[in-house]
C-alpha cells in the first residue's frame, strides 16, 4: 500500500476537475447526524480497558504522541528538553517507548533534529502560517520549504478555513496540493481546525477534500482554539479514512490534537480507532496524538501498572 498518492491518481480524478464538481461531490457525501455520532463516540468511551489491554494501550499511546511545543516563547533549550523527553519519556524506565515525533515551529526544526538525532523520533513542523493560515500562498510555501530544508520529517499544515467556509473548496484543494508538493518526502498532515468548521458535515467534507488532495494524515486541530480534538470529530475522521481506503485503496492517517490530557482520554481514542478504522490504524504510522501534557499522565499510569502504586508529578519530568 502506498503511503502517499499523488492527487488525481485515483478514482476521483473527475471530482477535482472544477470547483463545481468538487462542490457537488463534497455535498453529496452522506450527512452526519450530530446526536447519533456523539452517542456512538460516547458509547465507545464506556469500554473498560484493564490490565494487559491497558498496558498495551498506554505503550501504544506513548508511541503515538507528537510531543508538541508551539509557543511564542519557544527556545532551542526548551526544544532540546522536549527532544530528550521524546527519546526517553521516562527517565527511570528505559523500556518506555519513544514518542512518534516532536512537533515544533519551523525555526525550531534544526534544534529538534539535533535533539532526537539517531533515536528514530521524527520531527514534525507546523507550517503554512500556523495557526491562522492567513497568509499568501507563496509565504505559506516558503514556510514549508524552510521547515523541510531544516530537516522536518513531517509537515503539519492548516487549511484555509475562510475559503472552506466560503465554499471555495477548489482553492483549499489547490493549496493542499501545492503544500504537498513543497513538502517533498516529508509526510503531510492537514489540519482542518474542526472547531472552526463547526459542523460535522463540514468535517466530513474537509476530510475527503484533504484526502483527495493527497494528505498523508488528516488532523483535527491546531490546539489554539476553544474546541480541539473530541471523540466525536475524531470518530468521524476515522470513518472518513476507513471509507477512503475502501474506495481508493489509499490509507490515510488520523491525528487528533489538542485537549487530550489524560490516559483515560487517550485510551478512549484508541478504542475509537480499534472499532472504527480497525487494527490497521493502531500504529504510529497511521495514528498520532498531538499533545504535550498527555505524555506525563501516560507515564504515571504506566508506572502505576508496573509498581501497583499511584505515581505523582514528581516522578515524571517537567519540561
Amino acid at each position: 500500500m502506498p503511503t502517499t498518492a499523488p492527487p488525481a491518481a485515483h478514482a476521483f480524478t473527475d471530482v477535482t476537475a472544477s470547483d463545481s464538481t468538487l462542490r457537488r461531490f463534497l455535498h453529496g457525501l452522506p450527512g452526519v447526524d450530530t446526536v447519533g455520532l456523539e452517542a456512538r463516540a460516547a458509547a465507545l468511551g464506556t469500554r473498560s480497558i484493564k490490565t494487559t489491554a491497558k498496558a498495551y494501550a498506554i505503550d501504544l499511546a506513548i508511541s503515538m504522541v507528537d510531543l508538541t511545543t508551539l509557543e511564542g516563547a519557544d527556545t532551542p533549550g526548551k526544544v532540546r528538553a522536549l527532544g530528550a523527553k521524546a527519546v526517553h519519556p521516562d527517565p527511570t524506565d528505559r523500556t518506555a517507548p519513544t514518542t512518534a515525533a516532536v512537533c515544533v515551529y519551523p525555526d525550531m526544526v534544526a534544534a529538534a533534529k539535533e535533539a532526537v538525532a539517531g533515536s528514530g523520533v521524527l520531527v514534525a513542523s507546523v507550517a503554512t502560517a500556523f495557526p491562522a493560515g492567513r497568509a499568501a500562498l507563496d509565504v505559506k510555501l516558503a514556510d514549508v520549504r524552510d521547515a523541510v530544508a531544516a530537516g522536518a520529517d513531517e509537515i503539519d499544515m492548516v487549511i484555509d478555513r475562510g475559503a472552506f467556509l466560503a465554499g471555495r473548496y477548489l482553492k483549499v484543494y489547490d493549496e493542499i496540493v501545492a503544500v504537498k508538493e513543497a513538502s517533498g518526502a516529508a509526510r503531510l498532515k492537514v489540519i482542518f481546525e474542526t472547531g472552526e468548521l463547526s459542523t460535522y458535515d463540514n468535517i466530513r467534507r474537509a476530510s475527503w477534500l484533504g484526502m483527495l488532495a493527497g494528505a498523508d494524515f488528516i488532523k483535527t486541530s491546531t490546539g489554539k482554539v476553544a474546541v480541539n480534538a473530541t471523540p466525536a470529530n475524531t470518530l468521524l475522521m476515522l470513518e472518513a479514512v476507513r471509507d477512503f481506503r475502501a474506495q481508493t485503496g489509499i490509507q490515510v492517517g488520523v491525528k487528533p490534537a489538542g485537549g487530550i490530557r489524560t490516559t483515560k482520554d487517550a485510551v478512549k481514542f484508541l478504542v475509537l480507532v480499534n472499532e472504527t478504522a480497525g487494527t490497521d490504524w493502531l500504529d504510529n504510522h497511521w495514528f498520532r496524538f498531538g499533545a504535550s501534557s498527555l505524555l506525563n499522565d501516560l507515564l504515571m499510569q504506566r508506572q502505576k501498572l508496573a509498581t501497583g502504586r499511584y505515581s505523582g508529578p514528581d516522578y515524571v519530568t517537567v519540561d
Binding site: 500500500m1 450527512g31 447526524d33 447519533g36 473498560s48 480497558i49 489491554a53 498495551y56 500504529d283 504510522h285
Partner: protein, 486 residues
C-alpha cells in the same frame, strides 16, 4: 510500511476481561412470594429454580405462586386499597420518590442481579435499564398529587386492584412501567414477574420494605403462566396490565370480555427500520445495529426488518457486516460485552427454529465469525438477505438477534411494506431530508417512530402499539389513563 502494518495487526488491541464484580449482589438460596408485606411460601409449597442464562448456573429457588396465592395476594391488595387510595397524593408521591432514590442507591447491585438472571450485558442494565427504572418512578411520583391537572377531569379516581403480568426481557424496567403509574394513581398492585426472571422483582419487594410502603400495596407473585391467568381472571382485579406475546394478549382480551376490567396490552412487533439513500449512513448503521441487537433482539419494539433503499443496499450491507463483526459476544458481566445470552433454552429453541425456517424458505443467512460459549444459551447475531414480504422471517416476531433485510425503491413502497404487518409497535426512518421524515412518520402505522435514532425510551414518552401490538399507552401523561377510572 506493509511489515509495520502486519506487526500492528499481530499485536491487536485485545480487551482484557473487565468483569463487573458479582459481590455487590447477595442472592439468597431461596425466595418466597411477597404478599401483604411478608415473604411467604406458596400455598401448595411449590418452588422453581431460576438460572443464569449465560452459564445455566442455578441462582436461587423461588416459590411458585398458584391460584390460592393469587387469591391471597389480591385479597391483600384489596385490603390495602382503601387506605392507600385515600392517602393525599402528596404522601403517595413521597413513597414513590423514596423508591426511586433507593433504586438509584442500589442500582449497581440491581444491574448485576438483572444481568445474572436475564443474561443481558451489564453495559445495558447499568446504562439503560436501571437509569430508566429510577427515572420512571421519579416521573410518576410527581404525578401523584397532580392528577386533577392531567386532563382527565377533576377528582379522578383509581380503579382498585391492578393485576400486572410482565415479561423477562426487561424485568425491572417493565415492573417500573407497571407499578409506578399504578401506585401514583392510588391503585394497589399484584405483579407476576416472568418465570425466568423473578429475582429483580423480589429485590424490589425489599425496596418497598425499605421505603416503608404500607403492607399489601405491592404484592409480588413469582410464577408461571397459570398464575398469570389466575390473576387476570380473578374477579376482584379491576385492572389488567400485560406485556408479553400477542398470543397471550389475545387470550387475555378474550378472558376479560364481558367484565368491566380495564385492560392495557403491550405485545409483539415486527418493526421496520427504513433507510433511505440520503440517510446519515454511519448513524443509520449504528441505529440498525441498536435496533435489532440491543438486548439480543429480545425487544418487542426491535427494528427486526431492515427496509433499505435498493440503490444503497450493497453499500449498507457491507457496512452492516463490518459493524457486526466488531460486536463482542460473551460474558454478560463483562463491561465490554455487546451481546449477551438468550434468556432461556425455550427462547433459544424458538429463535433457532425460525432461523432454520428462514433458511429453508430460501433467505440467505449470514453471521460474523463469532465463538459461542460452551454453556448457556447463545445465538450469534444474524442477518437474512434476499428476504421478501412472503418470508416467515419477514412476518413473524423472532424476538432474537436476527435481522431480515428487504429492499424498496420509493418512499411509497417503503411505507406500504413497513405497514404490511399485523403488528404496529415501532418503526425507524433514516434520511437527512426533514420533510421526508415527517411525511413518512405520519403514514407509518406504529405507536413509536424513531427518526434518525432507534430504541430510545423515556418515562415522559408514551409507548405502545397499533393493531396486534396491543392497546393502551405506558409512559407519560398518557400512561396515567390506564390506571384511572375515566
Amino acid at each position: 510500511m506493509a511489515s509495520e502494518m502486519v506487526s500492528a495487526k499481530a499485536s491487536a488491541f485485545a480487551y482484557a476481561p473487565a468483569p463487573e464484580s458479582r459481590s455487590v449482589v447477595d442472592i439468597a438460596p431461596s425466595y418466597g412470594l411477597f404478599i401483604d408485606g411478608e415473604f411467604t411460601e406458596a400455598a401448595d409449597g411449590k418452588v422453581f429454580k431460576t438460572v443464569s442464562p449465560s452459564t445455566e448456573e442455578v441462582l436461587s429457588e423461588v416459590a411458585r405462586a398458584g391460584e390460592a396465592d393469587v387469591d391471597r395476594a389480591v385479597g391483600a391488595a384489596r385490603r390495602a386499597f382503601g387506605k392507600w387510595s385515600a392517602l393525599p397524593g402528596s404522601e403517595r408521591a413521597k413513597y414513590l420518590f423514596r423508591i426511586a432514590r433507593i433504586i438509584q442507591e442500589r442500582s449497581r447491585e440491581l444491574a448485576v442481579l438483572e444481568t445474572l438472571d436475564n443474561g443481558k450485558p451489564i453495559k445495558e442494565t447499568r446504562d439503560a435499564d436501571l437509569p430508566l427504572v429510577a427515572a420512571h418512578f421519579f416521573y410518576y411520583a410527581g404525578w401523584a398529587d397532580k392528577l386533577d391537572h392531567a386532563g382527565f377531569g377533576k377528582d379522578v379516581r383509581p380503579l382498585g386492584v391492578a393485576g400486572q403480568v410482565i415479561p423477562w426481557n426487561f424485568p425491572l424496567l417493565m415492573l417500573a412501567w407497571k407499578i409506578a403509574p399504578a401506585l401514583a394513581t392510588g391503585n394497589t398492585v399484584v405483579l407476576k414477574p416472568a418465570e425466568t426472571t423473578p429475582l429483580s422483582a423480589l429485590f424490589f419487594a425489599d425496596i418497598c420494605r425499605q421505603a416503608g410502603l404500607p403492607k399489601g400495596v405491592v404484592n409480588i407473585l413469582p410464577g408461571y403462566g397459570d398464575a398469570g391467568a389466575a390473576l387476570v381472571a380473578h374477579p376482584d382485579v379491576n385492572k389488567v396490565a400485560f406485556t408479553g406475546s400477542t398470543a397471550v394478549g389475545k387470550a387475555i382480551a378474550r378472558q376479560v370480555a364481558g367484565t368491566d376490567k380495564k385492560v392495557t396490552l403491550e405485545l409483539g412487533g415486527k418493526g421496520a427500520n427504513i433507510v433511505f439513500d440520503d440517510a446519515p449512513i454511519d448513524q443509520a448503521v449504528e441505529g440498525v445495529v441498536t435496533g435489532i441487537f440491543f438486548n439480543q433482539g429480545q425487544v418487542c419494539c426491535a427494528g427486526s426488518r431492515l427496509l433499505v433503499q435498493e440503490s444503497i443496499h450493497d453499500e449498507l450491507l457491507d457496512s452492516l457486516k463490518r459493524r457486526l463483526s466488531a460486536l463482542r459476544l460473551g460474558d454478560p458481566l463483562d463491561k465490554n460485552t455487546d451481546i449477551g445470552a438468550i434468556n432461556s433454552a425455550e427462547q433459544l429453541a424458538r429463535i433457532s427454529s425460525l432461523v432454520e425456517q428462514g433458511e429453508a424458505e430460501g433467505a440467505e443467512r449470514w453471521s460474523p465469525s463469532c465463538e459461542l460459549p460452551s454453556s448457556g444459551y447463545w445465538f450469534a447475531p444474524t442477518l437474512f438477505t434476499n428476504v421478501t414480504q412472503a418470508h416467515t422471517v419477514a412476518r413473524d416476531e423472532i424476538f432474537g438477534p436476527v435481522l431480515s433485510v428487504l429492499t424498496f425503491r420509493t418512499p411509497d413502497e417503503a411505507v406500504a411494506k413497513a405497514n404490511n404487518s399485523q403488528y404496529g409497535l415501532s418503526a425507524g426512518i433514516w434520511t437527512e431530508k426533514g420533510s421526508r421524515i415527517l411525511a413518512v412518520a405520519s403514514k407509518l402505522r406504529a405507536g413509536v417512530v424513531w427518526s434518525n435514532t432507534f430504541n430510545k425510551f423515556d418515562p415522559t414518552s408514551p409507548f405502545g402499539g397499533y393493531k396486534e401490538s396491543g392497546y393502551g399507552r405506558e409512559g407519560g401523561r398518557h400512561g396515567l389513563e390506564a390506571y384511572l377510572d375515566v
